[in-house]
Symmetry: C2
Subunit: 336 residues, 2 copies
DNA sequence: ACGTTTTTTGGTATCGTTACCATGGGGCGG
DNA sequence: CCGCCCCATGGTAACGATACCAAAAAACGT
């Protein structure tokens, strides 16, 4: 009992005893058993993070930020990838449930998870959704300014004189993507132009569909790709077809990626603050966890929207500004 | 008790009772409490994975593979980044210890962790080291053919007629790097040439040191960079200095990265099988976990060495072969 | 039908931590 | 110097799953 008191903030223990206990703890290398602690009714000092894909730099950057932010408050992160699969997402949630996580961060993949998430919420486990949200779920939300970002990109292309801009998306069922689509559509319509989409759900179809469209009559003079998967797919196809960027075809991509500046044609992109996204979401979640259960829970800040930024390089047709030329790339593994 | 039996394989339960129990389980949405299970003495069906950096594509690909392999056998993965920091690594190990993980996979960062790892091993928790190993630790090891990979790279440069090749490394304290260095050194010496190194421990110093050397008398005609951090740092510096690759300077990098083929100059690299590394390590660990404790544990396969591959693109001075030109890039997020 | 074996089922204690309560010792005022 | 109160400390029970054992039920042979 006394040991327990010492371990979790020695308030009612004499300084002498506390010191003695601490010495023994050190000598024996004692580490409190998390399982017993959880069993006793407390939730684990662990937050769960479910994301679609660990290999995607956008998500892995988020994960990185989540882990750092959580660690700073003494929490571990239980990281699970759903692999964009509904069943895997379900089992990830079940596992986190069984492990009594204190809260859940999720970049959702499937609508099917809503009921599971709501069950968890009902048991007092807070949920924060990142990057994408499911309408109808009462949960924390951290998003980026998708619509505004798309607007910036399209406006930039319009300023370059482009009149037919094709919009390309992979994974178009998510609201993050539909927001970007809407930003594109509105801006085009406002300019009196006709929006045109290429939407696919299978990665491998992106480049074929785009090339098909380019060979058809009245090909577009510019492309706006809505995520980096699409951007990279398209770039590769264009390189193979020896279509010159930006002379023959201008491109702006949504979601910046490291190395975008070092490519054969440095790519102009809408940058999303991935790290900040993870950080904000974690803080939101931890706030929620710490808050005592109560009806005033509603009053908590439940939605965060982060700004996007247009990073102008060359694929849009701009001449490189000196600033851009010297852009700092810190190296893939060198964020520390 | 009967419920417990039904949940973990109903062997001694009558079919009728088992069915009845299962029905109730389903109706109540019962999920066995992992904490209690662990507390009772069983280890969690969870493996820990400690890596230096989640944002590095090499490691995140490993993590991806580890998670998939572990999930296939019903294990969760507790992922923690040490951020190349000794203290963080120590606390990561402590946390995993407290959470009774069934086994630990680690890309070690600090020698200080040896004692902690040995404590865990003494308690019957198997440890597998990936990519780097600490000599003197009796643990599973999964490595790649660093020396042979370096040899291939250097030989290739020699075949192109290069006689002064500079070797550049970041993070040179690890045996994976020293093996590459040794492969470079041996091959150079065998060819009757003098090896020359630029070694730094701080990322930001890489490009400066290399540029310094290039401006000095008798500059090298080729670079061999020992990891992708170094490769990308150097490429950026060369671009700024308008040094032409491969005319003015040839480059081969160790550790391939997605987009290497799409860069201004497609980079020739030694590819490491990152996914296979994670997979092999996980299988090794799970084999060990499943094995009943006993003296014949020694007989287990304890070391795996995976082959590397030279991916020839253009930065070495080769003309692009047709095959290379059509190299498939499946997209950053499209590994599923 | 009865005793015996075999199968199925439930009771009890335990893991390590902590909430709650009880005890003991020390300090203080009367 | 005695009694009271308060603070420090330790005892006990409980969280939920399960190993072990006991009991009950079923199956079997004679």
């Amino acid at each position: 009992m006394t040991v327990s008191r010492v371990v979790n903030g020695a308030d009612l223990v004499s300084a002498r005893t506390a010191a003695r206990v601490r010495a023994v703890i050190k000598r024996l290398g004692y580490e409190p058993n998390e399982a017993a602690r959880i069993l006793k009714g407390h939730s684990a000092r662990t937050v769960g993070f479910i994301l679609p894909d660990l290999a995607d730099p956008f998500f892995s950057t988020c994960a990185h930020a989540v882990q750092q932010a959580a660690a700073k408050h003494g929490y571990m992160t239980l990281l699970l990838a759903s692999e964009r699969d509904s069943d895997r997402e379900a089992s990830a949630l079940a596992m986190m449930n069984a492990r009594n996580v204190a809260g859940i961060l999720i970049v959702p993949t499937s609508q099917n998870s809503i009921s599971q998430l709501q069950q968890l919420q009902a048991r007092g486990i807070p949920v924060v959704m990142l990057d994408r949200i499911f309408p109808g779920m009462q949960a924390g939300e951290v998003m980026v300014e998708n619509e505004k970002g798309a607007q910036m990109a399209v406006r930039h292309l319009l300023e370059h004189g482009h009149r037919s801009i094709l919009c390309v998306a992979y994974d178009s069922q998510f609201n993050s993507i539909t927001q970007r689509m809407s930003g594109y559509e509105k801006t085009m319509t406002q300019a009196g132009l006709k929006p045109e989409f290429v939407l696919v759900d299978d990665v491998s179809a992106v480049s074929n569909k785009v090339l098909q469209r380019l060979r058809a009559p009245k090909p577009p003079s510019a492309l706006f790709t809505l995520n980096n998967v699409a951007t990279i797919q398209v770039l590769q196809a264009l390189q193979q077809e020896r279509i010159d960027v930006p002379q023959d075809l201008a491109i702006i991509g949504f979601d910046d990626f490291e190395l975008a500046a070092l490519l054969a044609v440095p790519i102009t992109t809408v940058r999303q603050p991935a790290a900040q996204l993870g950080q904000s979401a974690t803080h939101l979640l931890l706030d929620w966890i710490r808050r005592p259960r109560g009806p005033e829970t509603r009053s908590l800040q439940a939605q965060v929207i982060l700004p996007t930024e247009l990073i102008i390089r060359r694929s849009c047709g701009c001449q490189p500004a000196p600033r851009v030329e010297q852009e700092q790339i810190t190296g893939i593994a060198a964020r520390d």
